[in-house]
Symmetry: C2
Amino acid sequence: MSGKPKNAVSPTRSEDFPQWYQQVIKVAELAENSPVRGCMVIKPWGYSIWELMQKELDQMFKDTGHENAYFPLFIPKSYIEKEAEHVEGFAKECAVVTHSRLVDDGEGGLKPGSPLEEPLIVRPTSETIIGEVYADWVQSYRDLPLLINQWANVVRWEMRTRIFLRTAEFLWQEGHTVHATSEEAVDETIQMLNVYANFAENYMAMPVIKGEKTEGERFPGAVNTYCIEAMMQDGKALQAGTSHFLGQNFAKSCGIKYLSKEGSEELAWTTSWGVSTRLIGGLIMTHSDDDGLVLPPRLAPKQIVITPVIPKEEQREAVMPYCDKLFDQLKALNYAGSPVRVKLDDRDMRGGEKAWHWIKKGVPMRIEVGPRDVESGKVVMLRRDKGPKDKLFLTVEELVAQATSILQDIQDAILRKATEFRDSKTTQIATKEEFEKCFSVDDTGFAVGYWAGDPELEDKLSKDYKTTVRCVLMEDFEAGKCIFTGASTTKKAVFAKAY
Amino acid sequence: MSGKPKNAVSPTRSEDFPQWYQQVIKVAELAENSPVRGCMVIKPWGYSIWELMQKELDQMFKDTGHENAYFPLFIPKSYIEKEAEHVEGFAKECAVVTHSRLVDDGEGGLKPGSPLEEPLIVRPTSETIIGEVYADWVQSYRDLPLLINQWANVVRWEMRTRIFLRTAEFLWQEGHTVHATSEEAVDETIQMLNVYANFAENYMAMPVIKGEKTEGERFPGAVNTYCIEAMMQDGKALQAGTSHFLGQNFAKSCGIKYLSKEGSEELAWTTSWGVSTRLIGGLIMTHSDDDGLVLPPRLAPKQIVITPVIPKEEQREAVMPYCDKLFDQLKALNYAGSPVRVKLDDRDMRGGEKAWHWIKKGVPMRIEVGPRDVESGKVVMLRRDKGPKDKLFLTVEELVAQATSILQDIQDAILRKATEFRDSKTTQIATKEEFEKCFSVDDTGFAVGYWAGDPELEDKLSKDYKTTVRCVLMEDFEAGKCIFTGASTTKKAVFAKAY
């Protein structure tokens, strides 16, 4: 393969992980910063990944009884003020609409005109506006449970932004449900956490740890926040999805009440849960390498790319029909419930350049076909999870027979690799000294130990070690001593530096 | 059927069409006004229709070579100022973000804090922000054509709003393409107009007229605007989709240039085209009747609903397994490329109430199953496009064998009905007197005649008759005389009152 650079991405992961991340996004043409502060443009390749994520998650939400709806982009200021903790959490970073038109500024330009009676907030999340609507929809126990999801854009005026991970505007889904009892609401919260974990592992091939956030890290207004945490290749944690048990906090502030079977008026219980385009950032940092993006087949916009290699123009006549036929055969296959997504790249471009184009974009399987392959009835198959020169020669029959199992093998292999990496960088710790030893180096990964701390102690860890409690594990362990306070507890926490 | 009201919707179409429209939206649970001025809440049944529309349109866009991407919600004020006609068209009705946080107002509440350096407009349409990005993306003729679509929410601060037809926030898609030549851009504009017409007729079962907008009705900044116009049951026209040839206007203001094959720098040519949740309003006003919504099978969230009728509890054991089996058989069928969307409604509810629930929601086919049907191996089939008592008795085998062709028959029947209605209310006119006679009554419908008018004359028609030129027909006719000016022309226009 001519023109091969040492690596397609510079700097490499080990040289400068944050810069490597930006470069992967660039060379894979996933997204870019827009001219609007903190807002990104999601380019077609990146958006296709989001569409595939949406499709799979949407089906999972529907399979668990949820329906989609759409609620307003704007939230009146007075609504967001109603829940004290909630407004505290979001007031500092919201976009405020104050005027409804632009008028002549007298200097050849325009200025805001027609002030609104009440300022509107561009939704940072929709608990308050949806709660207000639900207060109308929920009248009787017969209206419950109310299980609704929304796909939408939201805005949080973050100061330091990074594409996919933290942007002023991002795309997400937010589920908002109402239940008659606390128990049902908690069950829903956990169910959706499990949906997220299942999606992360079986579609993104990204292993996650499920846990409960500490008090200090809860969603503003939640009684309990559950999360999935994944380890990136720099050993840092990424919070990839959250599911909140909101208790009766929003039911109270919005007035969501129902008449029970017995005829009494009761306050309802609510939940909310969400994942966002941040998942794409997690996908990148879990699998990609120094040659660019690596995509799990289940979320690859193209799973297989066929690249004809035509050294001399007169060979085109033989190579192209062979590729066309192969294309049709592969397209007719089914993988993971959908037709295989295959592309025939017949652009007039040097072979090496074309190969690197698709390597950088993370396509799981590449098929090269040259004149000699046509003569021998073969193809060259290359897997993105293996080296760029690791070729396998297969007959067309073999390829067509094995293609979908190879795709699944790639899916499994990158999950296994990511899991092994995560486990190799996870340390069980029993003392404060072990904790300190862990987090005195840069790419520690996760540390797991007994925890009975409080928000103050968390603040201290964050200040002294730039380390946070990512989550408290769901399971109860044999009682042990908190590594910091010495108090007896059955709970272990995962500690890590985080995005 | 007990408990049948005279009509499920009051007022009826003939009593008060605008009120009837609001009532259909209410009884079919499609949407409602939100607590935020001019913004609607799209409820699950309405949103499912939008999802089906999106799915079909999205496939059509992809089949014609377009990819999806996502661009920022906010547009800097300076961008929107660049194209003079464009800003003129949108400045009066836009939401302006001026601050980036809420701060204590000293009275226990919050007020906008941290003013932005430059106000941001919530996108009313994205030509200017996308143009700015395209100026970077387009460098060489090799980058063209650039064919991108975006699914998004947009905001236009309309003074008088009506659900689906005119709301402050609405959902839409906007295609934005760049081409090397004027001809290619015009071809694209017409191609997408044809996609919209095809979708309207073959999915919405809504016949449309394709035409060109007059100068006064063009999109602000466009060289030419093409549209599809449909007739509602009150005889008024609804503009259901537009496709704009933007010439080099936005290429100029945004700086979209490319290096030609010959090495010269050239200004590009652009198009944009869009349809919105307004289509749902068109769907309602085209087909629905005094019993509620009527849905074309291709866009019905549920195409068939099975309602078990169980007069005595002990009959449940016989009826339910029969219904379950039927459900499985129908669900296994394919219609229009997808599994049939069938629902088994086993709620504990009076039969009449349940039947009316689904009639009002517009489900194309209902299947009633009672104890006697089980004994005789039959079902009762009712079509939404026929009377609510128009029953057909079929064996299960007959139903399963015929279900998809009945669905297609319903799809065809409502298109035929709407087309006949539209044609019956379309008058060919040759003189100004005939025009006046037409528009002296309320529900005239469309009038078609030779037209060589100008914006001034259009203003007069609008003022004197509340009638507008909906579009100038695409075809050239034998030369004739403009019904107003007497000038010779080959062009005919469609005149109507409009939404």
